[in-house]
């Protein structure tokens, strides 16, 4: 089982993932070029670059704000107001804990590592496009290099903390912020529904990446196997795994479909990623969705 142990490695893996994506990088650069600094119009006057309205000069205004060209056209003195523009704050949530610490083969990363790499890659991509990135429940947004280091740090340090679903009861998503949730989402569908619903109140958009090991989908074991929960508490000896495979596959795909349906209901986007498949492809997919949602 491949796991991630240090920040450098995570950072490196994430950079490597996105660096193998020239097209993605180009896209990110393009976004930052066209939408200056990733700003989002707020529909009212305020700090920003775009023209909003001319307004009669008031005493409280700074003389520097007077638009002399406009004022010269009439007797009134105008000041130029710009539209209030803010940058978008994207929150990423990455699942962690024993449930994520699983891989069916020592050749592929465990789910935790894949989730961490995906999270970090998205954070880096968002930063490239001048977005503000934060970790839901853990870190406020920002887009400095320091922020990136902190994100990586937290992602890794959280590995041992049980967090199978975002803590949506203690934290709320700031209004109009996109939410990216990354995890295996194997909890009962009811819990997931409640949790996502709470977040969706304030979320501008939602992206769910469900990361599963291929073995969790296919159940490729044979013969006599004792299965245990992630906590190692319960156990069940199955004498002939092959005989229950079909039934299991029905159950797990039903669950996956439920999660997907939930996302559809909330207007969120859903992507299933298997740990043995290419992270790059998933990043490409998710990014194209994010990009499309922003335009």
């Amino acid at each position: 089982m491949k796991i991630l142990r240090d920040i450098l490695k995570l950072r490196h893996e994430a950079e490597r993932e996105i660096c193998t994506l020239p097209a993605l990088m180009m896209a990110a650069e393009k976004i930052s070029g066209s939408i200056l600094h990733g700003v989002h119009s707020q529909g009212k006057s305020g700090a920003g670059e775009e023209f909003w309205q001319f307004r009669e000069y008031q005493d409280t205004d700074c003389p520097q704000d007077i638009d002399w060209r406009q004022s010269a056209k009439s007797d009134t003195i105008f000041t130029k107001q710009k539209e209030w523009q803010t940058t978008q704050k994207t929150y990423i949530w990455c699942a962690s804990g024993s449930s994520m610490d699983y891989s069916s083969s020592n050749k592929i990363y465990n789910k935790q590592a894949v989730a961490q790499i995906t999270s970090m890659s998205l954070a880096l991509l968002l930063r490239r496009s001048e977005e503000q990135v934060g970790l839901f429940g853990d870190l406020k947004t920002g887009n400095s290099e320091d922020k990136m280091q902190k994100i990586a740090n937290i992602l890794l340090n959280k590995s041992n903390i049980e967090a199978i679903l975002p803590n949506s009861t203690d934290f709320t998503l700031p209004n109009h912020s996109p939410f990216i949730g990354i995890g295996d989402f194997l909890s009962p569908i009811g819990e997931i529904t409640d949790n996502f619903a709470r977040i969706s109140h304030s979320a501008k958009a939602g992206f769910i990446i469900q990361i599963l090991d291929p073995a969790e989908i296919e159940l490729p074991y044979n013969g006599r196997v004792e299965f245990k929960t992630s906590h190692g508490k319960d156990g069940n000896i199955i004498n002939n795994v092959a005989s229950i495979r079909a039934e299991y596959k029905t159950r797990i795909s039903e669950h996956i479909n439920q999660v997907k349906a939930l996302c559809d209901d909330l207007g969120w986007h859903y992507i299933l990623h298997k740990t043995d498949s290419d992270i790059t492809q998933t990043l490409k997919d998710i990014w194209s969705i994010i990009e499309a949602g922003r335009k």
Partner: protein, 891 residues
């Protein structure tokens, strides 16, 4: 099967105790199912409550368990090191010293391997039990009259002693043997094992009782089917037929026939007869063309080695030199009616014919001189002739007109003759024509058929008033002597009373004429050798080794005194079987000629433990490898079952493949070295175990290699140290071997490696590093176990002195030592000596760096010559012929 099982012994029986754990293992395997694979599964929630189909076998079937238990059991048994036929059966258990008695007489060659492997088995057991080992043989070594008992020996010494033994071409000497073992009187008991050839060579009882008194005896003999056989001369060898007797011991098993070969000098087979053997004498008669008979050099029993199975022939049965006397100055005027022509035609296929004057014939050392109708000769010639006859010559005379007319006293005739011939069919004669009467039994011509149509018209009558006792070989039908003969001192004079041509009779036209002449000629030389005063002794020319191969005799073989020959000489350690002779005379000393009839060593006292060498496969066999292989095969069967039944094969395949990889002996390393060695010229030296010496050898050869690269086209890749125990030596044309006093001993495997190398074209330069006697002893010790051809001091014009530089001295650090090379190198190796032995510490001189002395230069030159010699062989020797070749080409 039971007997086989009873022969198995375990060297580590304690390990077998673990077999008891097997039922336990079985119990646990049956009771507790195999532990399931545990997987921590995050999606466990979805598995909960699923019911598995229980039909799938969770336990291995009993027969797979049994198979696996069998594998484990086999491994345990193999680890207990089972051996079949442990040597215990010969020497029992105990602490008494062990004496191995090896029959090494002529009869032992047939079972030599069995004897030696039994001996090796015994010494390995004795050394395991830390018992003293003595080795003694029953026949003395060549040139010795006493027998030396070796001992007490360590295992290595005993093994080396065994290697040094070989069967001999003479019999046992039980008296000497008893003397050698009697020296041990003061010792405590010694248990003896007699590895015998199964024959009692006369007086074995005393030896056995002595051995028993000293502490017990096992007597091991070959099975009856492997008993030695002996070839003995048949009287018929002298007669017209070619035949030989084969003596088989009394307990011979009459099964497959054996075949006996008649062979020519160079080993060509002239005829083979297969014969079914009975106990006692069996005669094999061969059909050999007359013209080939003279080429017969020996008889040999096929597939039966040993000096007794070979019977060599000497000159006695060889082509005689026959001289036909011709009148001085008389040309053959009418060749077809000339007497000498008839004789020549009759004898040509069987003898070397010379026609010359009598004096010249005598000078040419003829065995037979035939005088057709010569009545007179100069007195001087007559005296010479008489002396020649007295010395053992055979003179055959024919009558004729000259003799009939001669008025002089007849000389050199076997009987007194009447003068004048008797004409039977003359105009005045009234006698019937005469034929030859049948030959009597004491005649040498007995058995020849007499044709009816022979007519004797005229012959010379013997004077009837004399004693014909033993002188008449043939009579006419009226009883008058026709062929007479009489001994004269050592020689023989025979007279055929009619003419050698057809003028007096038809005899010369008949086949009988040829047969009679042939038989007469065969009589030549008989008795001549026996007590010829001029040949006081016969030098050994060739001696037979124990396997019946003729070799050059060592100096310790003594000449045979001529007087001994008459007394039925049998081969001995001083006179081994072989060919003895002097000048043109040869005498073949065969084992079968005079030896007493074969007697089995039977009726031994009942207290003597008696065994047979069963067969090669019957000696102590380590069963461990075969049992491990059996386990491996079961392993593979198990694996196949896994593949085909469990359907899980490929995963297991990977595991088993790794096991197989471990089992395959790793030779890749050696192979890669060998590829390197084969891809270029490497100088090599033998690792002596003395690191200092090895270092000098290395540096010396490296320096030589460097000089060679500079001066010649030989480019040395590297200098290789060889350990003859394991290393393949074939890649090195020349190996340098510095023999120091620390020279380590080598195993027989290493020695056979070295022997193989020498036998297949390799050259070793032994260097004793000076005349240090310890080193020379070390060299002797090593070469004692090697079969090294005869060597001689290097000759002045040896190729070694001219293969690159012209050298007359071969110097190293010292310059006094002589270089020894093979006397005559084996064919197929370009006259390159397989061993070169020097004592000048060559590598020591080569290793001196930047030493520009004359001595160093000459030493280097020797080194270069040596390498060139090893590489080019006789090429340089052939260069001598270049001027002639160029001359022939007209250049």
């Amino acid at each position: 099967m039971i007997t086989l099982l009873s022969q198995i012994t375990f060297m580590q029986p304690i390990i077998l105790g673990t077999l008891l754990a097997l039922p336990l293992l079985w119990f646990f395997l049956r009771v507790t199912p195999p532990a399931p694979k545990t997987i921590i599964f995050p999606a466990y929630r979805f598995l909960a409550g699923l019911i598995a189909n229980e039909n799938f076998p969770s336990k291995s079937p009993w027969w797979i368990l049994l198979l696996r238990l069998a594998i484990i059991a086999l491994i345990i048994i193999a680890l207990a090191r089972p051996v079949i036929n442990q040597a215990d059966r010969f020497i029992g258990n105990g602490s008494a010293a062990v004496r191995i008695i090896i029959d090494n007489g002529w009869a032992s060659a047939a079972n030599w391997n069995a004897q030696i492997s039994a001996a090796e088995e015994i010494i390995s057991q004795a050394s395991r039990e830390q018992r003293e080992i003595y080795i003694v043989t029953t026949a003395p070594a060549i040139g010795e009259v006493t027998i030396k008992q070796h001992g007490a020996l360590s295992y290595n010494e005993a093994a080396a002693t065994l290697r040094g033994l070989s069967p001999n071409s003479w019999g046992a000497d039980y008296d000497a043997f008893i003397k050698s073992i009697a020296n041990n009187k003061n010792r405590k008991s010694i248990y003896s094992i007699w590895l015998s050839h199964g024959l009692n060579e006369g007086g074995i009882d005393k030896a056995i009782s002595t051995l028993q008194r000293q502490g017990g005896l096992s007597y091991i003999s070959p099975t009856p089917s492997k008993m030695p056989l002996l070839l003995r001369p048949t009287k018929k060898i002298i007669d017209g037929d070619t035949a030989i007797d084969i003596e088989a011991p009394a307990n011979i098993i009459k099964t497959a026939p054996i075949s006996v070969k008649v062979m020519a000098q160079k080993g060509d087979i002239i005829d083979i007869k297969s014969i079914k053997l009975d106990a006692g004498l069996n005669t094999a008669t061969f059909d050999v063309l007359e013209s080939l008979k003279n080429r017969i050099a020996k008889f040999q029993i096929s597939n039966h080695s040993g000096a007794g199975a070979v019977f060599i022939l000497d000159d006695q049965s060889k082509r005689r030199k026959v001289g036909i006397a011709a009148q001085a100055g008389k040309e053959l005027s009418a060749p077809l009616i000339e007497a000498s022509y008839y004789i020549k035609r009759a004898l040509e296929p069987f003898a070397d014919i010379t026609i010359n004057e009598i004096d010249k014939l005598i000078d040419a050392n003829m065995s037979v001189i035939i005088m057709p109708d010569i009545a007179a000769m100069p007195t001087q010639t007559l005296n010479n002739l008489e002396k020649w006859v007295n010395d053992g010559g055979l003179l055959l005379r024919f009558a004729g007109d000259n003799m009939a007319k001669s008025r002089a006293e007849h000389f050199l005739t076997p009987v007194k003759l009447r003068s004048g011939g008797r004409a039977l069919l003359g105009s005045l004669s009234w006698d019937e024509k005469q034929n030859i009467a049948p030959f009597s039994e004491d005649s040498p011509f007995y058995g020849l058929d007499i044709p009816d149509d022979i007519t004797i018209k005229q012959y010379i009558l013997a004077d009837p008033n004399q004693d014909f006792e033993g002188k008449i070989w043939a009579k006419l039908s009226d009883g008058t002597p026709f062929i007479t003969a009489a001994g004269q001192e050592k020689g023989l004079v025979a007279l055929i009373h009619t003419s050698a041509n057809a003028s007096w009779s038809d005899f010369a036209l008949s086949g009988l004429y040829v047969s009679v002449l042939k038989r007469v000629v065969r009589l030549a030389g008989q008795g001549k050798t026996s007590n010829d005063s001029s040949y006081s002794s016969l030098d050994p020319l060739l001696v037979m080794d124990g396997y019946g191969v003729l070799t050059t005799p060592p100096a310790s073989v003594k000449p045979i005194a001529a007087g001994d020959l008459t007394q039925g000489l049998t081969p001995s350690s001083i006179h081994p079987a072989g060919l003895y002779g002097h000048g043109k005379m040869q005498y073949a000393l065969n084992i079968g000629t005079n030896i007493a009839p074969l007697k089995l060593a039977e009726n031994l006292p009942s207290s003597v433990a008696q065994y047979h060498y069963e067969s090669e496969g019957d000696y102590e066999i380590n069963l461990m490898p075969s049992i491990l292989y059996a386990a491996l095969i079961l392993f593979l069967i198990d694996w196949f079952i896994m593949i085909f039944i469990a359907g899980n094969g490929f995963k297991i395949l990977r595991k088993y493949a790794s096991i197989m990889l471990i089992l395959i002996p790793s030779t890749s390393f050696a192979a890669s070295n060998n590829i390197e060695y084969a891809s270029g010229f490497h100088l090599a030296y033998i690792e002596t175990g003395d690191s200092n010496l090895d270092d000098i050898s290395y540096r010396g050869l490296s320096a030589l290699g460097a000089i060679m690269a500079r001066r010649t086209s030989v480019e040395t890749m590297d200098v290789i140290a060889i350990n003859p125990e394991n290393d393949e030596m074939a890649f090195f044309p020349l190996i340098y071997w510095a023999i120091g006093d620390n020279q380590k001993e080598y195993s027989s495997k290493a020695l056979s490696n070295i022997q193989y190398y020498l036998d297949h074209g390799g050259t070793i330069l032994f260097d004793t590093l000076g005349q240090n006697s310890a080193n020379i002893t070390a060299l002797r010790r090593i070469t004692a176990s090697l079969n090294i051809p005869a060597i001689e001091p290097i000759s002045k014009d040896h190729v070694l002195g001219r293969s690159f530089y012209l050298l007359d001295k071969y110097v190293g650090k010292h310059s006094s030592g002589t270089l020894w090379v093979e006397k005559q190198s084996a064919s197929g190796r370009d006259n390159v000596s397989s061993v070169i032995i020097g004592s000048n510490d060559f590598a020591g001189e080569w290793a001196k760096l930047n030493n520009n002395t004359r001595n160093n230069e000459m030493s280097m030159r020797f080194g270069i010559n040596l390498v060139m010699y090893a590489l080019t062989g006789n090429y340089k020797a052939d260069q001598v012929h270049i001027p002639h070749i160029l001359k022939r080409l007209g250049k």
